[in-house]
Subunit: 169 residues, 2 copies
DNA sequence: TTCATATTGTTATGGTATAACTCTGCGATA
DNA sequence: TATCGCAGAGTTATACCATAACAATATGAA
């Protein structure tokens, strides 16, 4: 199980730096082109641990790059998703960075309805239970979308405290 | 576990009739108003076991009801979802009927990528595994979105056979 | 250098969903 | 019976999400 919710000590600058370094490294080894645009979109998605919407990315890109348009961001997101650097949260139509990028892996997402933070699990017990029960119905499993809504540890405990910023979660 | 994939003998007219009768009955007992519009939208969603998109419903409504517009269908869908008569498939932005309506229950969906049929599971083993593993991370679970992509039993076995109609699946 | 191809730019459009205000019909109540 | 309040539905407008299609450009291999 990986990438749980961040604590108060979370150093997001280091977190972001590591994520970009991992991506660079993986692309180098696989012969993928992490272009300036793709790298920048990945960086923007990783600006926090909340899902980011495509048009928010686009708004930011427009400030930096003339002629940015929806395909600009969707194509970058397609690349990043295909190689496991980001995931789409289907129930939010939004995107989060992946801390453990492997090609086209699934993962399970815990989504805090209060602070909006998302944690990713890659829990084999969940994956296998879903696979086993689905195949018991004669279904052949090719992919799983698992998104769990609720409250992250901090928001469950202090539901009235002010929302901390992004980077502290 | 309920509502598996339909067999060749599936009598969809009876299936649809039962679904509408159940909805009528539940609304009667709960004091809910299954209006003409809501009943018709439910009927259209139940036209098959494939997810139906909101604007497809709208196109059909326009042929029957002057002034049908997006809110017409979304408001009906909101009512039907809230009371468990239909579910939204998040990964498809589409809606399916529910054979076992209970308020705001979750459910797990098996989605055939070939014939597009959807089967609903309400498997406590899946629900509990996801809940337990999420809460092991300190997360408080309020809802689950579980959508499994793959091949239904028939499409897995005869991937080259022509697609059967709707009602036979 | 030249070429094939991947990437990005550009314009347009399609698909999904809600806001906000109006109108209508129906039951509760004075 | 009058009228009030409200849920449901009509109506108009707009916001948000995503892709098609074609042009231009950059990149790396031969």
């Amino acid at each position: 199980m990986i990438a749980p919710f961040r604590t108060e000590r979370h150093d997001h600058e280091a977190c972001l730096r590591d994520a970009l370094a991992r991506a660079e490294d993986i692309c180098l080894h696989k012969g993928l082109r992490l272009t300036e645009l793709r790298r920048r979109v990945l960086e923007l998605v990783w600006s926090g641990h909340e899902p980011v919407r495509a048009y928010d990315l686009l708004d930011q890109l427009r400030g930096e790059r003339r002629g940015a348009a929806p395909p600009t961001v969707y194509r970058a997101l397609d690349f990043l998703q295909e190689h496991g650097f980001v995931h789409k949260i289907e129930s939010l139509n939004a995107y989060v960075g992946c801390a453990e990028p492997t090609d086209r892996h699934g993962g399970q997402f815990l989504i805090c309805g209060r602070c909006k933070a998302v944690a990713e699990l890659d829990d084999p017990a969940i994956y296998e239970t879903v696979r086993r029960r689905a195949e018991a119905s004669g279904f052949t499993v090719q992919g799983q979308v698992i998104e769990v809504m609720g409250l992250c540890p901090r928001c469950a405990v202090t539901p009235d405290a002010p929302l901390a910023h992004n980077h502290e979660h």
